[in-house]
Symmetry: C2
Subunit: 257 residues, 2 copies
Amino acid sequence: MTSRDAQGDAPRKVTELPLGIAPTVILVEPQLAENIGMTARAMANFGLSDLRLVNPKNGWPKKGVREAASGATHVLDRATLFGSVAEAIADCHYVLATTARERGQMKRVFSPDDAMAELVAREGQRTAVMFGRERVGLTNDEVSLADAIVTFPVSPDFPSLNLAQAVLLVGYAWRQASGRAHLPFSGELLSPPATREALVALFGNLEAALDTAGFYPPEKRDIIARNMRDMLHRMSLTEQDVRTFRGALRALTRKGT
Amino acid sequence: MTSRDAQGDAPRKVTELPLGIAPTVILVEPQLAENIGMTARAMANFGLSDLRLVNPKNGWPKKGVREAASGATHVLDRATLFGSVAEAIADCHYVLATTARERGQMKRVFSPDDAMAELVAREGQRTAVMFGRERVGLTNDEVSLADAIVTFPVSPDFPSLNLAQAVLLVGYAWRQASGRAHLPFSGELLSPPATREALVALFGNLEAALDTAGFYPPEKRDIIARNMRDMLHRMSLTEQDVRTFRGALRALTRKGT
């Protein structure tokens, strides 16, 4: 199977794309350059790269699409154009259709998470997710070419999801289902937790300073001191935190005497 | 605490908003009308409604923001304006800051799912998620006003997430964590599954028709018939499906004889 490269270059075999990796995204008759560009960006955010366009309205390429992609031009540059859904899905082994409403079709209906788990389980197969036109979605005939349906758990009060937002949710769910959802950084402490010896020394410094300052009503001294130890425990202080805290306490004590 | 209504109306108490429901979304110095409108739309998609804007760049209201909200004007209409992050979070009990990169701050770092589970657990508290400027995000000082950090499991090759897309992911994760992620329709079969009696009768019709048509090589008849029964089983036919299938078979048999 060949298709026209979306940038107007010579036909190329789309079967050269790697199998069993991220799903292909198929936009059927998308209208707005912003949505196509934002789709490319959303795909790139989660590691999807195969974008197929079926008859974009008012031609292709569209003015403003690269700006909307905000740097995800590698997705736009390899996007491919097709004349029909049947051609766009020809080399796929499993195809999902996104729809916002019941179509009376007796297909399995997946949440994004379950849908992406199904795709991830199809290792070695080329999988695709189809998204319909901005206003009217996919036709029932187009939906009937899909193996199953994906729909989104939107609020019934405002279910209208933007096209690129729908693609983003599929990309996000795929990244999670495929075990690639690593955070770019962790909350690992930059300094090790304080030893209890350091913490107990801090308690001692603080309580001595407050004794000197006449802070405690004598009959409540012990209960207030224990409450403050609880507050300090809740801070999960690191070694560095304890050093900072003791330094601040020394400065305050100098100032106060 | 009072704040100016984003539409320029008289001050109103923001503490009138319901507690313990969806998190507040705070955009800090957002620049583009499209992003603010799309944020409102994304919030409405997942049932979030309290939008706060800290010093939107180039003033407020912005031209084009209502169009970008695509009908989610109820979120824009009740949006509130603030002069600083400290004021915007004043009545909140727990605040998350979204950041795309490590800030050297010793805070917990959550994925969207874990972050929203944490918010949902804080029933009765007003919670908020802060999002920074389009290009540079939140300042370290602003991050230091948050209890913890949320970051997104984006591809390291293309981590730049659009502002409204980030809000969408938070809304989606909140809807899932809060147990509200119901799909708008299910894949329940519109007709009950076929009884095995109906299915076995279909096998009989099909095999008789193929016998008559001379389809089977005699030595392979039984194995081919069993393989076709397997194919039919994989279709999980309903009562209606069996009726349709048997009708089609009758039509083909009439045509063929």
